[in-house]
Symmetry: C2
Subunit: 153 residues, 2 copies
């Protein structure tokens, strides 16, 4: 197929890294959604729960700190954490030092769920990116470079 009415530099839409990135991410999201369905978690819920579990339950973690760690925006973080709190997976106490902030903590149930779900997610990722074989490292490195580059702008 040849474009007649569109002045594009690409012969085929399959050569556009942007479009491909978009399509691949949509498919990856669908795979993750399917994987997490048995655990009753959405992707963002899983990411925040896992990140909070990662950060540990000793020091008081604010929503801002969690959002930074998970690269999630503050609004989404606030909304999802309240949902997780409603399910008893997370606690949101007032922060001892900062009156504006929340002191987050994973419950025992939340930690257990995170650890069960993370196994499934990593298996899903391994399957999804498995087709890259020995090029997985280069692909991951490229993604890391793109992320930091677009942050600097």
């Amino acid at each position: 197929m040849t474009p007649r009415d569109l002045d594009t530099a690409f012969t085929d839409a399959d050569d556009s890294p942007g479009l491909l990135l978009w399509q691949v991410t949509n498919r990856w999201q669908a795979a993750i959604r399917l994987t997490l369905k048995p655990y009753g978690l959405t992707h963002v819920q899983f990411v925040l729960l896992a990140a909070l579990t990662w950060l540990g339950s000793e020091g008081p973690v604010t929503q801002k700190a969690l959002a930074d760690q998970a690269a999630s925006d503050p609004m989404m973080t606030s909304q999802v954490l309240r949902a997780l709190e409603g399910r008893g997976l997370v606690e949101r106490r007032p922060h001892p030092q900062d009156g504006r902030a929340r002191a987050l903590a994973v419950t025992e149930e939340g930690r257990a769920l995170a650890n069960r779900a993370v196994v499934a997610v990593e298996a899903c990722d391994a399957e999804f990116f498995g087709t890259l074989e020995e090029q997985t490292g280069a692909f991951t490195r490229a993604l890391r470079r793109l992320r930091t580059a677009s942050t600097q702008e």
Copy 2:
């Protein structure tokens, strides 16, 4: 930082290709959104308008055919095309052969807008993926492989 309470295979979250893919795509979407703002187009609107312009205005193009070409889902396609029709960028006539379908056509104004916007989008992509330099080809190939692999499942 070391995970104490999460049993993960990754030392750092930056090693997960899935998380990186998600973050990079979010930043790319933000860049595209900013680029298309002066043209009054969202990303999906641009993709569908450009794809329809690409397909040409001679034969009757159905929404299904356009959705397949653009890898957009039928619901989104329907909704966005009605918005584009409201702005006079697209026409949605009844299909001459198939009573269920719509015969899509770009208006002159729509074609002109698509051609102006595509320049900006390709410049945005060039800037965004420019940091990959000579590895851009390998990156694009990896994305293409991931897309087809996840389709087969």
